[in-house]
């Protein structure tokens, strides 16, 4: 079983979202809790940063997310807003929880995708929304004009409509919706810094759980699943199946205009670049491939043991926000041992997978100990730089 999270400086037992809500309470019944929450926020810089990143508007709160509320967890609280082609958030709310489908397909795709994402986290990991405290799931569609992107702004998901030439609307892909919400999950757990290797891990976790949302919704096991991120996003004019392939990094597209999918699936292809916050969407191919290899070795549903090991790694505490690939690999190995035991097929599969992508898991580290050092480079291959990536086109 996963140990309770423990870390000397980050409080991961009480989710940051709940801490913030508690800290802002002005109710004598909760004075002690409120003081404690404020104290935690003051000494916890990652969470303070998170608080600063949250837009000034007060976030919605589902009934039941605070002590004394009575609503039961286990069902999402969704709202979808329409930005009407502007870049102002949140936009006009057009569908809320329980309302019938709208006439706008993007609204319904976002609503259903949020629901499927909630369902995976709740039914497989017992997690009540991204913060594990019933955080409402809010999204905005029709953001900007010809906007080729979707993102998580720290509080809500935002989808562009695409340009219609290269990209379709971004709600079309369930794995993209799962990807974005998983940035919320990461933010509320390990809070991995979005730069360099920890940023690539942040991206990889979003790809992996985004794909798991899609696999779970379709009832697909590892052998049947596409393992693609963003299938359906490209228009018919593009030679490509999707943005990325977790199974085979570097094979998702090969197009005259867009070029070839640049993702490596091994440390020998690690890309050093200043673009994209240090190539976070490129180098994520390496940990993506490692996860696939674990799933392939174990067979069955990837949201089972493989997903559980990665979930435990994010939630058990002790992971540095700036962890590198080698440190994360150690942490997954420790999580596998902790849940499935030394010498288990799961623990062996994790070690073999990281080794296969060129990230060695060192021997002698106290596996199973959440306080074991992470962030070391022990056992990792030396990244090979690709300076050409930094040249202007």
């Amino acid at each position: 079983m996963a140990a309770a999270p423990s870390h000397p400086t980050r409080c991961t037992i009480v989710p940051p979202y709940l801490l913030m809500r508690l800290a802002e309470l002005d109710d004598p019944r909760f004075a002690a809790a409120s003081d404690a929450a404020r104290h935690s926020l003051q000494r916890d810089s990652p969470i303070r940063d998170l608080r600063n990143a949250v837009p000034s508007a007060q976030p919605r709160r589902r009934v039941g997310a605070l002590p004394g509320d009575t609503a039961e967890p286990g069902s999402p609280d969704r709202s979808i807003a329409d930005a009407g082609g502007l870049e102002n958030l949140p936009g006009r709310i057009v569908r809320t929880e329980g309302q019938p489908p709208a006439s706008d397909v993007a609204v319904n795709e976002a609503y259903d995708g949020l629901g499927e994402t909630y369902r995976l986290y709740w039914s497989r990991f017992g997690r009540d929304s991204m913060d594990d405290a019933g955080m409402p799931l809010d999204a905005t569609v029709h953001y900007g004009r010809n906007y080729d992107n979707a993102f998580w702004d720290g509080q809500r998901m935002v989808f562009g409509d695409g340009d219609g030439e290269v990209f379709n609307r971004f709600t079309v892909s369930l794995s993209v919706i799962g990807h974005e919400l998983t940035h919320g999950f990461t933010q509320f757990t390990a809070n991995l810094a979005y730069e360099g290797q920890s940023g690539a891990l942040n991206e990889s976790i979003s790809d992996i759980f985004g794909s798991l949302v899609e696999q779970h919704a379709a009832g697909q096991d590892t052998a049947v699943a596409s393992w693609l991120i963003g299938a359906g996003l490209f228009t018919d004019q593009v030679e490509g199946a999707a943005l990325r392939s977790i199974k085979d990094p570097g094979t998702a597209y090969d197009d005259d205009v867009l070029g070839k999918d640049p993702q490596p699936g091994h440390m020998s292809g690690y890309v050093e670049t200043t673009d994209d916050s240090g190539g976070v969407h490129v180098n994520s191919g390496i940990p993506n491939r490692a996860f696939y290899l674990v799933a392939d070795a174990l067979g069955g549903n990837a949201w089972g043991a493989p997903g559980q090991i990665w979930y435990d790694t994010l939630t058990r505490g002790g992971l540095s926000t700036a962890v590198d690939f080698a440190g994360f690999a150690e942490a997954t190995a420790a999580s596998a041992v902790e849940r499935y035991g030394h010498g288990s097929p799961e623990a062996s599969a994790v070690r073999a997978a990281w080794s296969a992508v060129g990230v060695g898991v060192g021997v002698g580290v106290a596996v199973g100990d959440p306080k074991a050092p992470s962030g070391s480079t022990k056992g990792s291959a030396i990244p090979r730089s690709s300076p050409a990536q930094d040249q202007p086109e």
């Binding site: 940063d49 990143a53 080729d148 992107n149 979707a150 993102f151 998580w152 702004d153 720290g154 990209f167 971004f170 993209v176 990807h179 974005e180 940035h183 933010q187 810094a193 979005y194 730069e195 940023g199 942040n202 991206e203 979003s206 963003g230 943005l243 990325r244 867009l258 200043t274 673009d275 994209d276 916050s277 976070v280 969407h281 490129v282 202007p392 086109e393």
Partner: protein
Amino acid sequence: MKVVVSRSGGITGMRTTWEVQVDDQPDAPRWAELLKELPWDQVEHRAPQPDRYVYRIRCELHDVILGEPELKGMWRELVDRVRAVNERH
């Protein structure tokens, strides 16, 4: 004088680059004024946010990186101008 705007990041992780020869533009004085007024030396590094675009803007000796949330005011005007010139061609 050339301005180069390179946009990377976003969930797609793809890079797009646009450039403009300022002296060839019909409103070259306005370009020059804008480029002179921009606070090139006051750009601070902010922690990147998931799947937001990252803009790298270069002009002569200037070379700055701005996250999408920081692309406001004159920076936004510059990037919109550069893109507009490229889309006309």
